[in-house]
Symmetry: C2
Subunit: 917 residues, 2 copies
């Protein structure tokens, strides 16, 4: 991997060049916690912890600008960088009193870690003990009088460096990593069994070093680099190179992280957790990241370096055990916990090392947490006066809020079941599915529509796609800080980990828990809130919030979760400017959405009513009619159904507005397409079969999305529009305070709207005269083809409101069919052409331009124009924020997305004035 | 029809109101020939003829602004209008010395005629003799001492007024007009045969007047209006009302005339062609409108009013016959002909009436003519120094130019055939087809793909749709000025009219010509240049221009038509700024287009080459490949074919540029879709059938237009792009001066283009190194989805040129599929939502906005950006003019449209500086 190495030109630093390196140590730091964009999250917080007096080994950060430079200059570095790095090392030497590469005295060894703006699994993470070679290892042994420690460090270093920098990894036909194979072989030769690594002697470790060096030579054709400076350049290069590796690209695509951000590199003096039983390493959260409980929560390993804890190879101990193993250290840790939460005013995720009884902090960051934990922590911090309510609202990631609405296991069924076993509850929630043992097969099964439980001994970044595809994740090893637990929490996946009763046989695709055997495809259920694992599929029930809101369940309403949720939504209502409406087609959906806090209906798809029961027959009769007269006769049959449906919806709305879209889909969607169905219809309507076949054929289209649909139907068949308008107005005349907003779809030309509006007004006048009532209604249009947006100034003369139909607007603006994008979406996301699926998150720089053109032009004609959005994007937090920014009146989304949209809208409003802390 | 009547409020004229009425007469006129927009064509030229001293009966024009007022104010009129009209009538009374409604002396009678900016068949045309009633008819008889004349006038007036103003027309179950039935009945009662109308006595006419009055009363419930002022208001209202009747709407839709223009109404003192054998009426062209010959060309009827000539009921006499029937009048007419051509500097279409030996001019206008006539007249006028060459170019309607390229009958076959009969050659060209006897069946047959000859006794505006659908039109009656001849010339339809040997039996759908009988669906061929009619289908041959340009035929090149065409194109080349390229996929097409004067290729659809011969197998193998490796192997088979094709095209171009679009259509278009074809392919490629079926299914799309196509193919399968680039560059390396411009299709995101361009440049470098040559090439993109246009500033960083793919850009901007627009195009055109089919004529106000955004943004990034257009619109004159105006570098169209586009481009350039005269 020569491209990943630092190839530096040893020039004097260029005058006026940006500052590429920031040091910290001994209570002073050039950077601080606010500089995450430049220093990455890890580097900024190491500086910040140093500044507030916490024990942090000295070091320096190479900024993210170095990474940008690297990718903008054909993977080369700024000329000044080598000199900067040398100065950075000299600074550490001075503070520590050791020298880098010293073969006589205690040598300065360093850890090299990546550190992007946001933590990113999948990138090169850590190289420890860098600086060791055949000479310095002896100096280290001498200085510490601990041969075993010195050779353990060296062996670990070669292993890590060989893997991630030199690319010595298992080949396509190998089952295990080559270094692991060598360790296993040595254990077998010398002990005839799989002893714990901690039991290996200094001689064992030394032998492994030699064998590892031989492996590196054989696999790469080069000896392992012995010059510490060469080692350092190689490690930094590997960090920058890993920014663009496959796993990092996949992760960024999923979380919409721009590749332009780049990563920083942190170089830090080593603290050693592996000097013996008075040393160790740990990770912890200042509160429980799974459920939010205010408890110190983490784990540690004695006589181990940091990567041992998260690797999941040895099962670590709960951090609370330190209280009796090293009481002074534990007290110091609790003090640090308080200092950090007070300083950062949020739950922290920390890494620490204890070297011979002394605590060193290696990292702090705002801890990733589940939605449930986020809600509880935010409200607890607010209740204890640490943050104000606005900050509390901002602390709940909107895109995770629907985790709170996810079903739980049905309490009645659960009471009849006994868990097979109980593991660590690492990701709360209820998941039932079929078990799969590797990512690839899990992805495949999920793509077929199966619900999948991914079962692994432990997970690693290679499993990421499988974890995304799975409903739940079950691991045999690894604690609450393991990769599985971390990723599951972040994604809101149900996860039970460290289930020691679980025995997996990958080769035969089966597992055993206690006495029960399961094969691939068998069903398991995971309760990630309690850690229970059940055989088979367990029925689910609505979450406490759904039960409380929709079913008025008093037990659910009494839970802390429900009350916290209600508090959050009360604050949202106070903060928001952008209203949230719902897409609903029935009174039931309307009531649900109102319970979630919708401000009305933003989209009734009026044709959905035509599919129920016998109505479809009248609809088909209408489509098969030969004349306007016959069409009117069929429409007359539909009128009462449609009117009654609207009465139901208006009644449920009780005075809130309802935007009703007139008939939109192509007519062939209503006709039967199989021979048998067509025959049935012919008999039912007493028509010749040929007539039906012929009509189906004549209505078939090459690109139905761009065909005879939307207002084009009402232009050709005005009687359809008249019937729908009559149904709406007759219903409105029957319900006090009904507020229909009639929306003409797919308008690209002002004259289209003019013609439809004339029919609607005429029908309104007729109904008002017949019923002797006055109706309040408005007529507007959907802006969903580019021409509608581009000519919005003309259209706004007629339209009293616009609703952006961003599904179709995205299809037409991008020339991409929502139904067909699967053919190229994945390569497009991996190439970062699309940062996100444009049908999930609005394409602001493309489709957004059309929306903004329409707003500007529309308001120029009609300053008070009401503006809404009713595509799928109405429930997507990023898109909701955008809608707030461009000044829409409301967004509309499906009932169950209303809470997400309300939170996102409130956060957008708060972000206008508040800076989150 | 109460809405069509003038309901005037008798108020004093409003101060400051626009002038709604313009008078002319006795050598003076308030208007002039330049005021066509306000006065309509007829009114403006009546004023102009009056000004230059020609004999025009006095009158006045109600302006087109009255029409606009009428439609903008719920069909009511300006308050001042009644007073204006009274003043206008007073002015005529003064000049003529008669009084309107005078029951004692010679009463002033008037003609009321419509007059839009452009002449429009289908609107209410003319009411003559208005002002007659039971009293004034007696005064007229007394004053002229001609009872028969007076009652003939009155009978005609009631008939015309009853029909077009009062709506007394045949009902749905009647075969004939009620007034015609009454005439026929009277003739039968009194003469037992169908005598000519001219033989009816005064008593007959008087009896008919009474019967007609009874018909009006019975059909409308009201007596025929006797007050001349009421009559006048009714007639004017009918003109304005007819602006929106069905036929006018259809006509405007076809000729893209905006309804906003409105029509004027002309009221003119009557001149009487029906006072006896020293009177008559005629129509004429100052030159032959069918072939352009400089001859006085027209026809007249003695003792007749104007409408008799065009109605085609009586077959008129050639105008030259006047030379011996009324020599003085004929000499005066020839003088007028010269005055008019000298004054208007163009061929004129005139109407005149001779009243007792005195000539009156009733209309002049620039005559409609065929493309052949347009070319000859323009060049003749230029040769005689009347117009300059720029004007001569502008005189050729670009959208008709391809008539000159239309096939003629094959001279060899023709020499073996004898015509069945010969009629008047009213629309030149050759047409073969199946005969149909009414418009509806002609339209239906044409929709099924048949070539149709419409056969009618005479045509009327009701036949318009049938005439549009037909290849050729054959009539038994009517001269060269009849409706059939007029419309045929305007539309460039082949037409033979006045074929007296033709006998039609509508009831049995058959006809006889001489001894030959034909039934509906039998074949006839019309030579509209000579007026010959042949039995059966006659083979066609290329026109003289095609033969001269493409086959270098010396006989063709010696024809006047060919030489005139060459002269025109030479002038076009001098005038033009906008270049015209061609869409071509083969060397043969390239050579054709270059012969037509193309400046290079604007679009090679590179995939067309994959369909020929065995290549499709390799293409299918590529699509069915499971891996990049297998795909590359299949692509390697395609490479030599593609390279050789490009060599052929580059060679034909001889240094002219060629824009090559990379693979664009969805892959499923290359796979077989029937079971049998799939089975054949499975055998051929030795693959399981299931694999082919599965691939076809997996590639099937809901909306292929918006699917996996364009550059999306090259993003997912980069090896396709590499193969195509290699084929292009290897070909370019083999042909001196090859100028490939590689075009990446369907780009909406800069990064799409970046990735493709990187592959193309890398391939170019490789080929240049292998062949040791330097290649001149550029890489650009098609702007064909709205997002591409909206982000053109970003895309232009990478693209060296843009070519607007207006087919797809129209589809996406309007959300209308070109293949599916048929479902609603007709109602859309009739409602004037679409003025034209947007896939034929560019939607400037919608799609044009995207194009202009792209130009502005693209040039902001790259000032010298080359801009082209390669949609179907490149061959449409209106769109070509637009492309000139917005500053494109070139348009590209199919080879046979190159002359049309060149003429349109030249005219656009000339219109920048020249005003046509």
């Amino acid at each position: 991997m020569p491209n990943s190495h630092l190839h530096l030109v040893r020039n004097a630093p260029t005058t006026g060049a940006p500052k590429y390196l920031y040091t910290w140590g001994s209570g002073r730091a050039e950077g601080n916690g606010a500089m995450k964009n430049l220093l990455g999250g890890k580097g900024a917080n190491l500086a910040e912890m140093t500044r507030i007096g916490l024990p942090v080994p000295p070091g320096f950060t190479l900024t993210t600008e170095v990474c940008s430079y690297y990718y903008n200059h054909a993977r080369t570095y700024p000329a000044s960088l080598q000199a900067d790095i040398e100065a950075g090392i000299r600074n550490m030497e001075q503070i520590m009193g050791y020298r880098f590469g010293d073969a006589e005295n205690f040598p300065l060894l360093v850890a090299v870690r990546s550190g992007a703006r946001e933590s990113m699994p999948g990138m090169m993470d850590t190289i420890l003990n860098l600086g060791l070679n055949d000479q310095t290892v002896l100096a280290l042994a001498r200085a510490t009088q601990n041969d075993r420690f010195a050779w353990d460090c060296y062996r670990r270093f070669i292993q890590m460096y060989g893997d991630v920098v030199l690319g010595v990894q298992k080949g396509p036909h190998e089952d295990h990593e080559p270094f692991e194979v060598a360790i296993a072989a040595l254990k077998h030769e010398r002990y005839r069994c799989e002893i714990d690594d901690a039991l290996l002697t200094a001689a064992d470790q030394q032998e492994l070093v030699h064998r590892f060096q031989a492996i590196v030579l054989a696999r790469t054709g080069h000896a392992f680099p012995s010059d510490p400076w060469v080692q350092l350049r190689g490690a930094a290069g590997a960090v920058f190179g890993s920014w663009m590796n496959d796993r990092a690209v996949v992760y960024r695509a999923k979380y919409h992280i721009p590749s332009e951000w780049g990563t920083a590199v942190n170089v830090q003096a080593m603290a050693y957790g592996n000097t013996g039983e008075t040393s160790g390493s740990g990770v912890a959260f200042t509160r429980n990241p799974a459920n939010g409980t205010n408890e110190f929560y983490g784990e540690f390993l004695l006589n181990a370096q940091g990567e041992d804890v998260v690797a999941g190879v040895r099962t670590p101990l709960p951090v609370a055990d330190l209280a009796h193993k090293m009481p002074a250290c534990y007290a110091e840790l609790l003090r640090v916990r308080t200092v950090l939460e007070t300083h950062f005013r949020d739950m922290q995720d920390i890494e620490f090392t204890i070297q011979e009884g002394k605590l060193f902090m290696l990292q702090t960051r705002n801890g990733k947490r589940t939605a449930m934990a986020a809600l509880k922590i935010a409200l607890d911090l607010h209740r204890s006066g640490v943050i104000d309510w606005r900050t509390a609202v901002l602390r709940n990631p909107a895109d995770q809020l629907d985790q709170l609405l996810a079903p739980i296991f049905d309490p009645h069924q659960l009471s009849t079941l006994t868990p097979l076993a109980t593991g660590l509850p690492a990701g709360p929630g209820a998941a039932s599915g079929r078990i799969y043992f590797n990512a690839e097969r899990a992805v495949h099964a999920a793509a077929q529509g199966e619900k999948v439980i991914l079962v692994r001994l432990e997970t690693s970044p290679e499993d990421l796609r499988g974890m995304i595809a799975a409903e739940g994740i079950l691991t045999a090893r690894g604690g609450v800080s393991s990769h599985a637990a971390l990723v599951a929490r972040q994604m809101g996946k149900v996860c039970v980990c460290g289930l020691s009763a679980l025995h997996i046989d990958y080769d035969h695709k089966r597992l055993r828990i206690g006495q029960s055997d399961f094969r691939e495809g068998d069903a398991l259920s995971l309760d990630g809130t309690l850690g229970h694992v059940y055989a088979g599929l367990v029925k689910t029930a609505p979450s406490e919030i759904i039960a409380g809101l929709l079913h008025d369940d008093p037990i659910a309403r009494a839970t802390e979760k429900f009350k916290d949720y209600q508090q959050l939504m009360t604050w949202c209502a106070e903060a928001t400017r952008l209203l949230v409406r719902t897409n609903a087609d029935t009174p039931e959906q309307t009531r649900q959405a109102l319970a979630f806090g919708a401000s009305g209906i933003g989209l009734i798809r009026s044709e959905h009513m035509f599919f129920a029961g016998d109505r479809i027959d009248a609809m088909r009769e209408m489509i098969l009619a030969d004349s306007g007269h016959a069409r009117e006769a069929a429409l007359a049959k539909l009128l009462p159904f449609q009117r009654d449906d609207f009465i139901g919806i208006f009644t449920a709305l009780d005075g809130l507005p309802a935007t009703i879209r007139l008939l939109d889909p192509p007519l062939h969607e209503f006709l039967p397409h199989t021979h048998k169905q067509q025959l049935d219809l012919a008999r039912k309507l007493d028509l010749p079969l040929e007539k039906i076949v012929q009509r189906v054929q004549s209505l078939a289209e090459f690109n139905p999305m761009l065909g005879f649909r939307g207002c084009r139907l009402g232009i050709k068949y005005p009687e359809i529009t008249v019937m729908q308008a009559r149904a709406i107005f007759e219903a409105a005349a029957s319900v006090p305070n009904a507020q229909p907003e009639i929306m003409v779809p797919l308008v690209g030309f002002k004259k289209e709207l003019d013609r439809q509006v004339a029919l609607i007004h005429a029908t309104a006048r007729a109904v008002m005269a017949e019923r002797a009532v006055t109706l309040n209604y408005t007529v507007g249009t959907m802006i969903e083809v580019p021409r509608g947006a581009l000519t919005a100034d003309e259209i706004a003369h007629t339209a009293e409101f616009f609703s952006f139909g961003t599904n179709d607007l995205t299809q037409t603006c991008l020339g991409m069919s929502r139904d067909d994008i699967g053919g190229f979406l994945i390569p497009y996301q991996e190439a970062e052409i699309l940062k996100a699926n444009p049908f999930a998150t609005l394409d602001q720089s493309g489709v957004g331009q059309l929306i903004e053109i329409a707003i500007t032009k529309g308001r120029r004609t009609r300053p008070g124009l009401k503006l809404g959005l009713c595509g799928e994007h109405g429930g997507d937090p990023t898109s909701v924020r955008y809608c707030h920014q461009i000044g829409l009146t409301y967004v509309s989304c499906s009932p169950y997305r209303v809470p997400v949209a309300r939170l996102a809208a409130a956060q957008a409003a708060l972000s206008d004035t508040t800076v989150a802390t």
